[in-house]
Structures are given as structure tokens and as C-alpha cells.
């Protein structure tokens, strides 16, 4: 047992282990604070670095051919510059502390904004760090002795948990001829709610006493007045023109938000409807109901959320929908 632990430690601290992980993409999310040790930072010349090398070789050839002593001096100075830039680029990335930050739930199809916290305990600033995760990319500078939050906007495709994929942190500072990079995968995930559908469908209305769901048509065009914006309000109902004149955002509210109580029941949806379509529909109802200040509940196969209202209630319902397993 002891030797097995030792072997594991040796492997962890060897480049071979990193290489193995890299080749077989055996990377798992890392909880806690990740420290970018020397062994985690890779460095190779960029394309410009290779052209720089070619330029140097040409310059050296010219110097030899014409016996230019100063040509040698210039070529070797630039070669030294290239070599030194390896260290500078490496230093710009190594020994950073990376940890997971916040990420708010989003609807499927929207961008989940993952916040990744970098800590620079060194005495010097880190410049132009590029974070890339799939199509998401951002660039940050981290001042000395500071925490800095980078935000990666990752497209949330599917409902459920969206685990942050492996993020490549790379830098070409200062000359752009070398590229140092490292992979981090902070253990963080975003909750992705089903995307509310947009079909022009009514909200089912239920008498909570009887449990019978009755569909009444509550038109959203039944404008009744304006009230200050709340975070749960649909952007579609923001009264942009009125808000422009006022100092706060205003939301239109509509007639029909009488004190009805709704229960959204999975089983009431048409039998032929697809699971995801049902979830979308339910999500939309939840959104609409919350928007209008109704009391509502949710009934899924196996779970029932009692009537309630307000932002936490809405989040609870949406979470249930997001994590629904048929």
C-alpha cells in the first residue's frame, strides 16, 4: 500500500504522467485551488516563433557569408532574446492559483457565465492570459498580489448540469514567439434550465382545492399598468419606452393576474408530447406564472412542489425541471 502511494506520487510529479493524461485526455475536474506548478505549464514556439527562427538562420548565413562581425552580434542578440523569452513567457503563467468562482443558472441555449478566480501571489503582474474553453474565450491581466476573476461565457446546449470543460490558459507575452499553456478544470458546473418554449399556448389554471386544472385564457395583452422591474420578470414585459423616461426599469403587468392558483402537472400535457418539449412547456408556464405574480406548484412524476411564489420558488421549480429524469 505504501509503495503504491509512493508510485502514485512519483507519477504525479513526472512529466510522463502529465503526458499520459494529456494524450488520453484523462482529465477530471479538480476541486479546490489548483496551483499551476512548473510541471503543469507547457511551452513551445508559436508559428511566429518558428518564422523568427528561420529569420535568425538567414541572418546567420548572411553574417557568415559576408563576414559581418556585427551581423553575428545582432543575430546572437536576437537569438538570446528568443531564448530569454522562453523564460519570460513561462514565468507569465506559472505559479498562479486557479479556483472555481460563481456561475448562475441559465436557460438552455443561453450563455453560462463561468467565473474562474485567479490569484497572483507573485510580485509581478501577469499579462494577456487567454482562456479558451471550446468556443468561449477571454483575455485577462492579473496584477501582482491580486485576485482576478475571469468570465467564460459557455453556450449551454442542454438542460441539467453543465460541467465546465477543461480550460486552456495560454499566454504569448512578451514577444509572441513562445506560447506557454496549461490546462485547468476547476470543478464547477452551471445549472441549465429547460428553455421555455415559445408556442402561443395558454397557462393551465387549476383550482387547488379541487385539483382540476382548467384552462382559462389569460391574455398577456390585457395590459393593466406598470410596476418596478423585478429580477424574475420576463425581459419581454419590460416597458422599454416607459423605462427610458423613468429612472428605474418598469415592467408591464397585465390583467388577469387575479389570485388564481395554478398547478402545472406533467400528466396534463398531451400524451404524445416529447419529454423535453413537456419540460420546456412547464418551464414556460413557471416563468409566466411567476411573472404575473400567481401562486403555482409543479407536479412531476415522482416529485411534487407545493404551491408557492417568489424567486426562490421559481428557482426550485426550474431546478426540478432541469434535473428531471424520466
Amino acid at each position: 500500500m505504501r509503495s503504491a502511494v509512493k508510485l502514485e506520487r512519483v507519477l504525479q510529479y513526472s512529466q510522463a504522467y502529465n503526458f499520459y493524461q494529456w494524450v488520453f485526455k484523462r482529465h477530471a475536474p479538480e476541486p479546490g485551488v489548483v496551483f499551476l506548478t512548473q510541471r503543469r505549464v507547457y511551452i513551445l514556439p508559436t508559428r511566429h516563433g518558428l518564422s523568427f527562427g528561420v529569420v535568425l538562420i538567414l541572418m546567420l548565413t548572411g553574417s557568415i557569408n559576408y563576414n559581418l562581425s556585427l551581423g553575428y552580434v545582432l543575430t546572437f542578440l536576437l537569438a538570446g532574446l528568443g531564448i530569454v523569452s522562453i523564460l519570460h513567457t513561462f514565468r507569465n503563467l506559472v505559479h498562479l492559483y486557479v479556483s472555481a468562482g460563481r456561475v448562475s443558472p441559465v436557460f438552455a441555449g443561453d450563455l453560462a457565465h463561468f467565473q474562474i478566480v485567479f490569484e497572483n501571489r507573485s510580485d509581478f503582474e501577469r499579462y494577456s492570459l487567454d482562456l479558451v474553453c471550446g468556443a468561449a474565450r477571454t483575455r485577462i491581466d492579473i496584477p501582482a498580489h491580486r485576485h482576478w476573476t475571469a468570465e467564460l461565457a459557455v453556450k449551454a446546449e442542454k438542460r441539467g448540469w453543465l460541467q465546465l470543460a477543461r480550460v486552456t490558459v495560454d499566454t504569448r507575452f512578451p514577444l509572441g514567439v513562445m506560447r506557454a499553456w496549461s490546462y485547468v478544470q476547476p470543478d464547477m458546473r452551471a445549472l441549465v434550465y429547460p428553455r421555455p418554449d415559445t408556442a402561443p399556448l395558454p397557462v393551465p389554471e387549476a383550482d387547488s382545492d379541487t385539483g382540476d386544472a382548467v384552462s382559462t385564457s389569460v391574455g398577456t395583452d390585457d395590459f393593466a399598468g406598470l410596476r418596478p422591474y423585478q429580477p424574475s420578470d420576463s425581459p419581454r414585459h419590460i416597458a422599454w419606452k416607459a423605462s427610458a423616461r423613468s429612472e428605474v426599469l418598469l415592467t408591464k403587468f397585465f390583467a388577469g393576474r387575479a389570485s388564481s392558483e395554478l398547478c402545472f402537472d406533467w400528466d396534463q400535457l398531451p400524451p404524445g408530447m416529447h419529454v423535453e418539449a413537456r419540460l420546456s412547456r412547464l418551464a414556460r408556464w413557471v416563468m409566466l406564472a411567476e411573472e404575473r405574480g400567481l401562486r403555482y406548484g409543479l407536479k412531476l412524476s415522482g416529485t411534487t412542489i407545493p404551491l408557492g411564489e417568489g424567486f426562490p420558488h421559481r428557482e426550485r421549480c426550474l431546478r426540478e425541471l432541469a434535473l428531471f429524469h424520466g
Binding site: 505504501r2 502511494v5 476541486p31 479546490g32 496551483f35 511566429h48 518564422s51 523568427f52 529569420v55 538567414l58 541572418m59 548565413t61 548572411g62 553574417s63 557568415i64 557569408n65 559576408y66 563576414n67 559581418l68 562581425s69 556585427l70 551581423g71 553575428y72 552580434v73 545582432l74 543575430t75 546572437f76 542578440l77 536576437l78 537569438a79 538570446g80 532574446l81 531564448i83 530569454v84 523569452s85 523564460l87 519570460h88 514565468r91 506559472v94 505559479h95 501571489r121 507573485s122 510580485d123 509581478f124 499579462y127 494577456s128 474565450r137 491581466d141 501582482a144 504569448r172 507575452f173 512578451p174 514577444l175 509572441g176
Partner: protein, 648 residues
């Protein structure tokens, strides 16, 4: 992704720097670039600068293509080739400017920066002086600052400059190591273009005294000399150059060099050892004091006692010589040479011929004739001037009897004519006379203005004997130098007065000399010399590469240490604590990730009552240093010691 990068806008400050860098790199080329090209280049550069600073549009592609073609045609028309060195550099400069004009993305900026480096190198084709080196260092700094700016657009230019300067300073030691240790190869690797060596000055292969109406003296340095012992007096400093035997009435010419085969029966006196650093002059002559006794291995001696190199001297070379001012050069002449040294064109200069014949008839032997001629020069009131009147067909007659004004060429030419007319074999020797010792570094500097011509006559008993008719007529030329003989014609800095200026120039010359000796003159030979001084005889290139590798590695290590100084790893307290936890984990008591240190210690001491005291002590120390007010180094040392000794 790549597209996103390509269309990324360029930040203006580094772009402006790049324009400035290009201007600096090209600036010193302007003196030889065609004027139309310089004007066009300046226009393009200003255009780019304005766009970089104020915004606006760059020229469209069709215009760039047209400009490229037009310039290429212009270069061809100017140089009649596009292959030579000058044409090549012109094209390179054009490429730089046109690339600058279509620089829209970082990718282009890299190309421009690399072109700037290349054009900077091209400067050294024309000059490798200290000022040019300084200018190019500035250029490289500016271009590098621009590169830094492109990779970190949010920084200020002064920050970029600091980074670039720091990197260049760190690259310095690497550069020195590479410069001294990189295995040197003697170029060229392939044939050089025809125009590679234009514009070097030096002695000429012909001499036409009557046709020059104003001799302009250059203070360019011909060579530098370091004497092993004491410096000979000025009137013995005859630096022998090409010998001229053929005369057509107007012009003296150098014959084809013929190597000496026979050792001869020359006799030499006390030797003088010295080292010459010769500036390139594109001919094969290697100057030496009269008479060279021992010449370098690579040189050959001609029948005229002139050491020559086997190839034209196109780079500064250094060689050691031994000469003897007391000599009897009897072995050097064969009948052919003596016959050539008597040949005269027919029908010119009757008066001189008549005078010579008169001497021949009235005097007993050659030596007496020579002496009579010297007396003639001494007593005839000649005037030394650098602006002599032009002479006609009978140039020798006119000089000797009418104008009586001239410089060394007139004297030497007329003297040799007289000797030949009198039947004494004679020839002209050109070279340098004199030289000034720089008090700063003790090197003697011989300049182009010290060029001189004198005569040599063949006397049966003594061989070739030097006769300097200029010295006979105008002693001051040889005693004090050209500046004393012709104060107005001499280059400004060679004249009298201006002592502070001369002091300045002496210092500068000494600096330039060190530069030449150690930087520009560092060639394969000198590298071997230096390495053998370091204790390596005949090092192979493998050894040198290995040495280079390790020494550069060492420098990099030092740079890395200095760079990573500001990096803070996990602190020592945390490390000690983790080591402690690791020991316990191996004993099967791993800390749970949610467990605080005190809870953990409690659990551990329950399981391991024997080491409970140590566990509690360690934990207390850890908690105190981690969470308490600033701890001292002593408790850290105690923590470390306890952890080290801890054994669960």
C-alpha cells in the same frame, strides 16, 4: 479562431513604434539608396505613420501591387540588376515599407518586425562602426518594444520599453557567449555579388603626377601598427606598397606581381617587430616597413619586396611582421627587372634627358650620379603643394625647370626619370610615410593622407637603395609629416592647433581600434587564439558546441533565478503542515478535506496516544503561524524540526 485573430485591430502605440523602428533601420541606408527611392520610401512611411496615429485608410491592394512592380522596375533601372548586394538591400527595404502599408493584423506586424531586424543587419554591409552599431541597437529595441506592445495591448509604451530593455539586457550575456564560442566559419559560403566591395579607399595601381591638379587628402585610416619595442623615428617609417616600373610619359603603372623564388643574398640589420591591423582596401598588398624580413605564413613576397596576400583584402586583417631598416637588397633583381628599370618612353622630356646625360658623362659612377641628383633636388627651391599646376606633354621637364611645384609623386616621378635617363636602374615605390602614435592606446595610426611615393635605385654594391627626392627637396614632409608640409590641404583634424579636438579624436580612435580588434576582428583565427589562451588547444567544434550549450544553460539558469525571485510558492508553514499530514496519511490517518487542523489533531491523538504530545505541538504551532498574528522565524524552524522528527 484564426480569423478572429487576423482581424483583431492593431493597437496604435506599438504600431507607431514599428513605423519608427522601420525609419531607424532604413535611415542610414539613405546615403546610398537612389534618391527617387528615398523620396518614395519617406512618403510611404509618413502615410503609414499618419494612419497609425490618426486613423484613416491604408492603400488598396491594387495600388500596393502597382507600387511593388514599379519599385522593382525602378530598382532594375537604377542598378541594371536585381541580384547584387545594393539592389537586394533596396528590394528588402521596399518589401519592408510595402508590408508596413498593408499591416492590418498582428500577423503582419510580426513580419514587419522581422523585416526590421533584417534591414538592420543589412546596415552592416556598409558600415560596422560604433555609431551604426548603437543606432541598430536602438532600432532593435524599438522593434522589440513594438512586439511586446502587440502581445499586451493594454500596457503603456514605457512599460513595454522596460520589458524589452530588460529582455535585451538578459539576452546580452547569451549574445556574448554565442559571439565568442559559436564555431566560426570563414566566409564567404558562396560567391559574393560583384558590388560587394565598392567604395573602399586605398593606394592606386597607377600614378599620373601631371594630371592631378588638386590632391584631396583623406584622414581615413589605412592601417594601425603596434610596435613590439620602441617606435622608430618618423623619417624611417617608410611603409612599402606597390612598386611601379612601367612609365609611358604620363602614367606610372604597377606591373604584375611576381613571387620571389630565390632566397637571394640580402643582408639585414637589427630587426623591428610589429603587428599591423590593415583596413580592407580590396587589393592584395600587405604593407610593411622597409624592408620586410619575415612575413606571415599566409603571405607571399614579391620580387619587389612587397608582401602580398593570396586574395584581395576585403576584411580587416591583422598580421605580424619583422622588418629591418638597415638592409642590403641585392638578391631581388634579375636582368629582366633591371632592364625594365631603365626603360623610358621616346621623345619626351628632352631637357631632363640632357641634364641626365650631362651627369652621366661628368660623373664617375652610379652612386655619384644619385648623389648629384639628390643635391640637385636639395638646391633647386622646389615648393611642396597639394594643388600643383597641370603639366603638359613633357611633364618631367615642366616640373623640374618651370613650375617647380608639386607633391611626392612629382618628385619621385621626375627623379626616377632622371636616373633612367642617366642609365641608373630606378623605379617608384608607393606606400605610406609616417604615422601618428595615439597616446591613448599606443597604436600608431597611418592614414590615407600619409600616402607617399619615393624612388629606388639599383647600385651594384648595395642593391636596391631607397632615395626619397621629396625628403631631399622638402625635408619637412618626412621629418614632420604631410600636415607640416601642406598645412592647408591636410584634413582638418590632421592640422596643427585644435589640440582638444585631437585629444577627442585620439580617444575615439583608440575606442574604434579596440572595437576593430575585438568585435569586428573576431574571426576564426582569433577565436582559436582566445580558446587556446583559455587552455584549449585545437578545440573541435563538438567541444565548442558543448561548451556553448553549458555556458548558455548556466546563463539561462541565472536569468531564471532572477526572474522567478518574485514568485511565491506555497509558504513554508503550509508545506510543513502538508508534510505532517502526509506522514499521518501513510499511517492510515488521512485528514478529511472538511476537517480543521484542531479536530484532526484531536482525532489523531486519540488514535495515536503515544505521539499525542508531538501532534498537539505541531498543530498548535501550525495554527499559531497560519491564523495568528505575524509569527517569527523561530517558531517556523521549530515546526519544521518537529515535523521532520515526527514518526507516527
Amino acid at each position: 479562431m484564426a480569423d478572429a485573430k487576423a482581424t483583431e485591430a492593431l493597437p496604435p502605440p506599438p504600431l507607431t513604434l514599428l513605423v519608427v523602428g522601420s525609419a531607424l533601420a532604413v535611415g542610414s541606408h539613405v546615403q546610398w539608396l537612389p534618391i527617387w527611392f528615398s523620396v518614395a520610401a519617406a512618403t510611404l512611411l509618413s502615410w503609414r505613420a499618419v494612419v497609425a496615429v490618426r486613423g484613416g485608410s491604408l492603400p488598396p491592394r491594387w495600388l500596393l501591387v502597382t507600387l511593388t512592380l514599379a519599385t522593382a522596375v525602378g530598382v532594375y533601372l537604377s542598378y541594371r540588376t536585381i541580384m547584387g548586394r545594393d539592389a537586394g538591400v533596396t528590394l528588402l527595404v521596399m518589401l519592408l515599407f510595402l508590408k508596413l502599408l498593408e499591416t492590418r493584423a498582428p500577423r503582419d506586424a510580426f513580419v514587419v518586425a522581422f523585416l526590421v531586424y533584417f534591414v538592420a543587419l543589412a546596415n552592416f554591409f556598409y558600415s560596422q562602426s560604433i555609431p551604426i552599431a548603437a543606432l541598430m541597437l536602438l532600432t532593435v529595441t524599438v522593434a522589440t518594444t513594438a512586439l511586446v506592445g502587440f502581445s499586451a495591448p493594454r500596457r503603456t509604451v514605457s512599460e513595454d520599453l522596460k520589458t524589452a530593455g530588460r529582455m535585451l539586457a538578459q539576452a546580452g550575456p547569451v549574445m556574448l557567449l554565442l559571439f565568442f564560442l559559436f564555431p566560426r566559419v570563414q566566409g564567404p559560403l558562396w560567391g559574393l555579388p560583384q558590388d560587394a566591395y565598392t567604395g573602399v579607399t586605398g593606394l592606386s595601381e597607377t600614378m599620373s603626377p601631371g594630371t592631378i591638379s588638386a590632391l584631396s587628402l583623406s584622414d581615413a585610416i589605412a592601417f594601425r601598427v603596434k610596435f613590439a619595442a620602441e617606435t622608430p623615428p618618423r623619417n624611417r617609417l617608410y611603409w612599402r606598397g606597390p612598386v611601379m616600373t612601367d612609365f609611358d610619359g604620363q602614367t606610372w603603372r604597377v606591373g604584375l606581381p611576381q613571387l620571389r623564388r630565390e632566397a637571394g643574398n640580402d643582408a639585414f640589420g637589427a630587426p623591428i617587430d610589429y603587428e599591423v591591423t590593415l583596413e580592407p582596401h580590396n587589393r592584395s598588398w600587405m604593407f610593411a616597413l622597409e624592408m620586410p624580413m619575415r612575413i606571415p605564413q599566409s603571405a607571399r613576397m614579391t620580387r619587389d619586396y612587397l608582401p602580398i596576400s593570396l586574395t584581395p583584402i576585403r576584411t580587416r586583417i591583422r598580421y605580424e611582421m619583422r622588418s629591418s631598416p638597415e638592409f642590403q637588397a641585392r638578391g631581388g633583381a634579375n636582368p629582366g627587372d633591371l632592364a625594365a628599370a631603365l626603360r623610358l618612353p621616346r621623345g619626351v622630356d628632352p631637357r631632363a634627358r640632357a641634364l641626365a646625360l650631362e651627369w652621366r658623362e661628368s660623373l664617375p659612377d652610379d652612386a655619384a650620379i644619385v648623389q648629384r641628383a639628390i643635391d640637385f633636388y636639395r638646391s633647386s627651391r622646389f615648393e611642396y603643394t597639394l594643388e600643383p599646376p597641370r603639366l603638359g606633354e613633357h611633364s618631367v621637364d615642366e616640373f623640374l625647370f618651370d613650375t617647380k611645384q608639386g607633391f611626392c609623386e612629382h618628385f619621385a616621378s621626375s627623379f626616377v626619370f632622371l636616373m633612367r635617363a642617366a642609365g641608373v636602374p630606378a623605379r617608384i615605390v608607393t606606400g605610406y610615410q609616417g604615422g601618428d602614435t595615439n597616446p591613448v592606446d599606443g597604436y600608431m595610426v597611418v592614414r590615407q593622407a600619409d600616402a607617399h611615393a619615393w624612388a629606388e635605385v639599383w647600385l651594384e654594391s648595395r642593391g636596391w637603395v631607397r632615395v626619397d627626392p621629396t625628403a631631399a627637396a622638402i625635408p619637412v614632409r618626412v621629418e614632420l609629416g604631410i600636415t607640416a608640409a601642406a598645412p592647408l590641404g591636410a584634413p582638418l583634424l590632421m592640422r596643427g592647433g585644435l589640440d582638444w579636438l585631437k585629444g577627442l579624436r585620439n580617444n575615439w580612435d583608440a575606442l574604434t581600434n579596440q572595437w576593430n580588434q575585438w568585435v569586428l576582428g573576431y574571426n576564426p583565427d582569433r577565436q582559436l587564439e582566445m580558446l587556446s589562451r583559455l587552455g584549449m588547444k585545437q578545440p573541435s567544434w563538438e567541444t565548442m558546441t558543448l561548451m556553448l550549450f553549458w555556458s548558455v544553460g548556466g546563463v539561462m539558469l541565472l536569468v531564471a533565478l532572477s526572474l522567478l525571485r518574485g514568485i511565491r510558492r506555497e509558504d513554508a508553514v503550509q508545506r510543513a503542515w502538508q508534510r505532517f499530514c502526509g506522514k499521518l496519511a501513510r499511517a492510515g490517518l488521512a485528514r478529511a478535506s472538511t476537517e480543521g487542523p484542531l479536530d484532526y489533531a484531536g482525532r489523531v491523538s486519540l488514535r495515536l496516544p503515544a505521539s499525542g504530545t508531538a501532534v498537539r505541538a505541531i498543530t498548535a504551532l501550525y495554527v499559531e503561524q497560519r491564523y495568528g498574528p505575524a509569527a517569527d522565524g523561530e517558531s517556523l524552524a521549530r515546526l519544521k524540526r518537529l515535523v521532520r522528527d515526527f514518526a507516527p
